[in-house]
């Protein structure tokens, strides 16, 4: 492969995050390299979303540093190099009056800058992004009228339209049925391999993630990282399984 996997795109260094009194993340460090397909797993409330939000500049770490493309995130300006697919399918307004095309075009807005309207070139990129995710024929449909899987593909197209180098996806499978999930994983694999896009992918579906990603990070207040997801999960399971020997079931007799 021609991708330089040794190049650090994102460097998280000893980052902690506290919400009020409670520590959500404790001295977490992580390097994401160009071309990585990183799966981030861990229990709910374990800090996955918090970590991603700090890498996107949506939250500021209590301590530690985050660098994007070698620059400190506090002074980082090249946001068009970063794409984001939020946990949308479950919490967006289905009555919002926007067509698929209009939603995907939003992906060009940041790139275009203030006071400028979209150009022919922008429209071409939007079309290309929609074709990439096989949603071009749905361009005139209202986004809220589509199925969960189709909506999610439209959101991927929106991220693609910004022509980023890395895309963050937060639980993109929520609200997507099983068949659409398979298609979705194929799409992500294609983006990672063919377009050499770096992907950071949050999920609680460990089994599915292990079979797809090339790197894995387990986040639960601290972070453990491995570039062999299958081996990693096997070991983690062993740990969990080992622990379960010490769990006793108390049956109450009434």
């Amino acid at each position: 492969m021609s991708v330089d996997h040794s190049l650090n795109i994102i460097e998280v260094n000893k980052v902690s995050f506290a919400y009020k009194e409670s520590l959500v993340l404790k001295e977490v460090s992580l390097n994401i390299h160009k071309g990585d397909y990183l799966g981030m797993i861990g229990p709910n409330g374990g800090g996955k979303t918090t970590l991603i939000k700090m890498m996107l500049g949506l939250l500021t770490p209590t301590s530690g540093t985050v660098k994007l493309f070698g620059q400190d995130i506090r002074t980082f300006k090249e946001w068009s190099r970063v794409g984001y697919v939020p946990q949308k399918v479950i919490n967006f307004d289905v009555n919002f009056p926007a067509t698929v095309f209009e939603v995907v075009a939003m992906g060009r807005y940041g790139k275009r800058g203030l006071f400028r309207s979209l150009t022919k070139e922008d429209r071409r990129v939007v079309q290309e992004s929609l074709r990439q995710v096989e949603m071009w024929e749905f361009r005139d449909r209202i986004i809220g009228d589509l199925s969960g899987g189709q909506q999610q593909r439209a959101f991927i197209a929106r991220a693609l339209a910004g022509q980023p180098e890395v895309i963050f996806l937060d639980e993109p499978m929520a609200g997507v049925d099983a068949q659409a999930q398979d298609q979705f994983y194929q799409l992500l694999k294609k983006l990672n391999r063919d377009l050499e896009l770096t992907l950071v992918f949050i999920s609680h579906d460990i089994e599915a993630v292990v079979n797809e990603v090339t790197e894995i990070a387990f986040v639960n207040r601290t972070l453990s990282y491995d570039d062999d997801p299958k081996k990693f999960v096997k070991e983690e399971m062993k740990k969990l399984y080992g622990e379960s020997k010490f769990i006793h079931h108390h049956h109450k007799h009434v």
Binding site: L58, K77, W79, Y84, F92, A98, E102
Partner: protein, 277 residues
């Protein structure tokens, strides 16, 4: 004996255009009718509908100040709403109070201030009542210049920041990640809402302005169209309501603001019937 009657109605039909106050009212009404739903679109979709109402009450305090100091009430209304809108937004961001609570505080607080100021000015007079419910008689020539000038500014700024406003309205987090200065745009929106509310008061009145920002938009939303087409439908509903409302209030001697809002409500009821499912 039908023809004499018919003759009288046809001459009456053009009577509106014989009075300069009525023409001024209609002109001001059309300007307001054009910008209110533009702002309303973003407020409604962001669940900010109540902010228009709050700012309207703030503007009443501004109007009372204007009456007391004998300054043009539109000017004091603009100053007070713009200032308050920035404070409300700050309060919301600080998260020291809930968003709606911030609105409630400003709504009741400014109404309290208005009432106290009015009692200082020895009670209600007809002029103030016109600002409460709106009347085409209220619009003076200088008001028309202010409404026209600032209306153009509001429309131009909405046009310039259109795509940022759309993105933030749909998905604020992603907009922020894409590098859009969300905080500045949010403040801009609320200041523009404050301006629009103040400009609308002479026509629709303090108590009815939020209706003109909200009802045409909610009506247009029933048709489930693209963002662009929804704005066009909202504009048509708003303009129709304003023109028919002003004409009806003129010929039948009805409250202008009330008639405009009732016409738009009829259109809203019809749109509900249109919507399948």
């Amino acid at each position: 004996m039908v023809s004499p009657n018919l003759f009288i109605t046809t001459t009456n039909m053009f009577e509106l255009f014989q009075y300069s106050f009525a023409i001024r009212g209609l002109e001001a009404g059309i300007i307001i009718g054009l910008i209110a739903p533009l702002i309303g679109m973003f407020l409604v979709l962001r669940r900010y509908s109540l902010i228009a109402d709050t700012l309207a009450h703030v503007s009443l305090a501004g109007i009372a100040i204007g009456f007391l100091l004998q300054i043009n009430p539109i000017v004091t209304a603009i100053a007070s709403t713009v200032l308050s809108s920035v404070v409300i937004e700050r309060l919301r961001i600080s998260r020291r109070v809930y968003g709606e609570s911030a609105l409630a505080i400003f709504l009741s607080g400014s109404l309290a201030l208005a009432v106290v100021l009015i009692s200082l000015a020895h009670g209600f007079n007809v002029g103030l009542l016109n600002y409460l419910f709106g009347s085409i008689v209220t619009v003076k020539q200088t008001d028309l210049y202010i409404i026209g000038g600032l209306g153009a500014v509001v429309a131009a700024l909405l046009f310039l920041f259109y795509k940022e406003l759309v993105y933030i309205t749909f998905d604020e987090e992603s907009a922020q990640v894409s590098g859009i200065p969300t905080r500045a745009i949010n403040t801009l929106l609320i200041v523009l809402a404050a301006l629009t509310v103040s400009l609308s008061i002479p026509i629709v009145g303090v108590l009815l302005i939020s209706a003109l920002m909200v009802i045409p938009v909610v009506t247009a939303l029933q048709f489930r169209q693209s963002f662009g087409k929804t704005i066009v439908v909202a504009e048509l509903v708003s303009l129709f309501s304003v023109i028919v409302g002003i004409a009806a209030s003129f010929y039948f001697n009805l409250s202008t603001g009330g008639t405009i809002v009732l016409v738009s409500l009829v259109l809203f009821a019809l749109s509900l019937g249109f919507r399948k499912r």
